[in-house]
């Protein structure tokens, strides 16, 4: 491609060559010829095709919200030497570069490998696609350029932030004592393998995992599950209305953070945790336990988008198979959901220990002038009514200000 400078040069050179004879001016004639010659020479410099391979690596496999990830953009020259190569790594708008740049200009010799490092600030959960990088080759005097995209895409999953919850008893009053109990895993001495942990003095030698020791030179012991505690089902509202607010501050994002924190908390206590997401469809992750299950739930939470308008009643069918008297935690503002009252009544009637956590972003929305004061008061009153209604059904219900610590807020409703 020709730049404007090249067009001006050729135009000026031609004019000078053709005009100078009229005033018998050798100076302008020579200048015009030189300018044309300069463009002709430059049409051969740094303009032939290149062969560059670009890959991307991250310093961490698991990236959480509000954390940084370091990206190495590995640029490998497989072809001729390139004097001026401009590289722009295309990034999704949800991530921000906070150290280094995703835009660089380099000179590449044959077979040279250059690593461009930059840090991404991942402020929002989600599954993102990075790439393809755009390349631009200029010739040194900016007379010609070539642009192309290199096929190099990477997937980055930003998991919701996990807040430590401590000192709050959210489990059931009825641990695995009834007939037909489904196994609720906990470390014990049964034959089911649960996981491994580091050896501690007093552990039985027969539980040492010698294979792991052989591999890592660390003493690790096998843990086995024991059946005696509860299942917990988290119900997440992912309707379109839950995305109201800013891209970072909306009920859905806060619900996801709360769900991630609660999942981590319950799994650490060896409970089985399930997740039901309703919005456009109902997605159910059956209760399970272990580290792998935690990341299954976190990945599902990372991918949640506010779409659809299904009501809370749509999850009732799936809850029917869930262990009665176990805790069910609904993460929703219940806003604009005419089925919520019936659904909450149905859940409590079936004996589930219901907790409703309603992330309240109304104050922020009013201060940021996203909603008018009238809308604020109406929505606030409506939310209060929903909370009161849930409490009247025997549920533990709370308006959660996302700026406050979740466990502190929970402690107020959990007696």
């Amino acid at each position: 491609m020709w730049t404007r400078k090249a067009v001006v040069y050729v135009g000026l050179g031609t004019i000078l060559v053709l005009f100078s004879p009229f005033i018998n001016n050798l100076q302008l004639f020579l200048l015009g010829t030189t300018i044309l010659g300069f463009v002709a020479i430059h049409s051969l410099v740094n303009t032939s095709p290149i062969d560059v391979k670009i890959t991307r690596t991250f310093d961490s496999d698991q990236v959480f919200e509000n954390s940084n990830v370091s990206v190495d953009l590995i640029i490998q020259n497989k072809g001729r030497s390139v004097g001026f190569l401009e590289i722009y790594d295309n990034l999704p708008s949800e991530v921000e570069v906070n150290n280094g740049l995703n835009h660089t200009i380099i000179k590449l010799r044959k077979e040279e490998l250059v690593i461009n490092k930059y840090n991404l600030d991942c402020r929002l959960r989600g599954q993102y696609r990075l790439g393809n990088p755009s390349l631009r080759i200029y010739n040194p005097s900016f007379l010609f350029y070539y642009e192309s995209d290199i096929d190099s895409k990477s997937s980055l999953v930003v998991l919701p932030q996990i807040e430590q919850i401590e000192g709050v008893d959210l489990s059931t009053d009825f641990p695995k004592m009834y007939q037909g109990a489904m196994p609720i895993r906990r470390i014990g001495t049964s034959g089911e393998f649960y996981g491994i942990r580091e050896y501690m003095p007093g552990d039985d030698f027969k539980n040492i995992n010698w294979r792991v020791f052989g591999r890592t030179r660390k003493l690790m012991v096998n843990q086995f599950e024991r059946e005696d505690i509860s299942d917990i089902m988290l119900v997440l509202d992912a309707r379109e209305i839950s995305g109201t607010g800013t891209i970072l501050r909306n009920p859905l994002n806060y619900s996801c953070r709360a769900a991630a924190s609660l999942t981590s908390f319950f799994l650490r206590a060896r409970n089985r945790v399930g997740l039901t997401i309703y919005g456009e469809t109902v997605n159910v992750i059956p209760p399970d336990t272990g580290e792998r299950h935690l990341y299954r739930i976190l990945t599902a939470l990372a991918e949640v988008k506010p779409t659809g308008g299904l009501g809370l009643h749509t999850v009732l069918g799936d809850l029917r198979n869930f262990t009665p008297r176990s805790p069910v935690m609904v993460l929703s503002t219940l806003e604009s959901d005419p089925t919520s009252t019936t659904a909450l009544r149905e859940i409590t009637a079936r004996g589930f220990k219901l907790t409703v956590i309603a992330p309240d972003t109304l104050d922020y929305d009013r201060e940021a002038r996203i909603i008018s004061p009238t809308v604020y008061f109406t929505a606030s009153a409506s939310l209060d009514n929903k909370i009161t209604e849930a409490r009247s059904l025997g549920a533990r219900a709370m308006r959660w200000d996302p700026e406050s610590v979740l466990s502190t807020s929970l402690a107020e409703v959990v007696i």
Partner: protein
């Protein structure tokens, strides 16, 4: 050498190239033959009844030094906006006072001195504008300065092969000025974005080395373009190659255009991009 040094070097060479090209332009085209200064002389003679070019010192070197001084002063003043504003105000008031003094026949400031300064200012105008363009990265100023360097010394008497060395010097320094000043603007803009890049300095050095090499190659290609005229005269019929038109600068101009047209056609036919397009078609 770090990036800032390379960029400053480019500015320095561009400034000297600009001065050199203007100086050589006046060597090739004497100032008293310049259409521009003849027009200026005519206007001043009409108004004041004095002949500027004959009565005043029309030294190109002095004019260039005035331009260099004014341009440098302007760049330094621009660093501080407040000082710049006050300086412009003082300059404006001084100019008005000089005119008022002239109208009221109050000769506190010698009239000839101001006229001399104005003449030198005109001569140094391309330097003044060019320096601002180079050191403050204004592409508009760089273009205007280049235009003035070409146009201001231009006369009707023309020039011939006898002045070939000053002409070659002019062409080389003019190209250096344009390339380095524009290159500095582009590369410094990129340097602001790429400040962290260790690789950037190598790109700059590559630019400077390539510029020198390509200018040398351009000289060779220009010589070939000129020799092509002789080659063409051998090919063309005797009556054509011996015609008056063909053996003047008109004929040379046409030969040069034919040379570059052939170059363009060959490059289009044999470029890899063209071959790739042929395959796609």
């Amino acid at each position: 050498m770090n990036t800032n040094n390379s960029l400053s070097l480019m500015q320095g060479i561009a400034t000297f190239s600009l001065m050199f090209s203007l100086g050589l332009a006046y060597v090739i085209n004497p100032i008293d033959e310049s259409l521009f200064f003849k027009a200026l002389d005519g206007i001043v003679s009409g108004i004041y009844g004095t002949d500027v070019l004959d009565e005043l010192n029309s030294s190109a070197v002095a004019g260039m030094l005035v331009g260099l001084f004014a341009g440098t002063l302007f760049v330094f003043l621009s660093i501080n906006k407040k000082v710049y504003n006050y300086s412009i105000l003082i300059l404006f008031i001084s100019t008005i006072l000089v005119f008022l003094a002239d109208i009221m026949n109050y000769d506190s400031f010698p009239y000839q001195v101001t006229q001399q300064l104005f003449l030198w200012s005109w001569i140094g105008l391309p330097i003044f504008i060019g320096i601002i363009g180079i050191w403050q990265d204004y592409i508009g100023n760089q273009i205007v300065a280049a235009f003035l360097v070409l146009v201001m010394p231009l006369g009707l008497s023309g020039n011939t092969n006898e002045q070939i060395y000053p002409i070659l010097g002019f062409v080389f320094s003019f190209m250096l000025y344009i390339e380095l000043s524009y290159g500095h603007t582009r590369y410094s803009r990129l340097a602001r974005v790429m400040y962290y890049s260790k690789e950037y300095e190598t790109v700059l050095q590559w630019f400077l080395v390539t510029l020198v090499i390509t200018l040398a190659l351009t000289t060779g290609l220009t010589s070939i373009a000129f020799l092509f005229h002789d080659f063409l005269s051998d090919l063309l019929p005797y009556s054509f190659s011996n015609s008056i038109e063909f053996n003047t600068i008109y004929g040379q101009a046409l030969s040069v255009m034919v040379f570059f047209m052939i170059w363009a056609v060959i490059q289009t036919l044999f470029s890899r991009g063209y071959l790739a397009r042929q395959v796609e078609d």
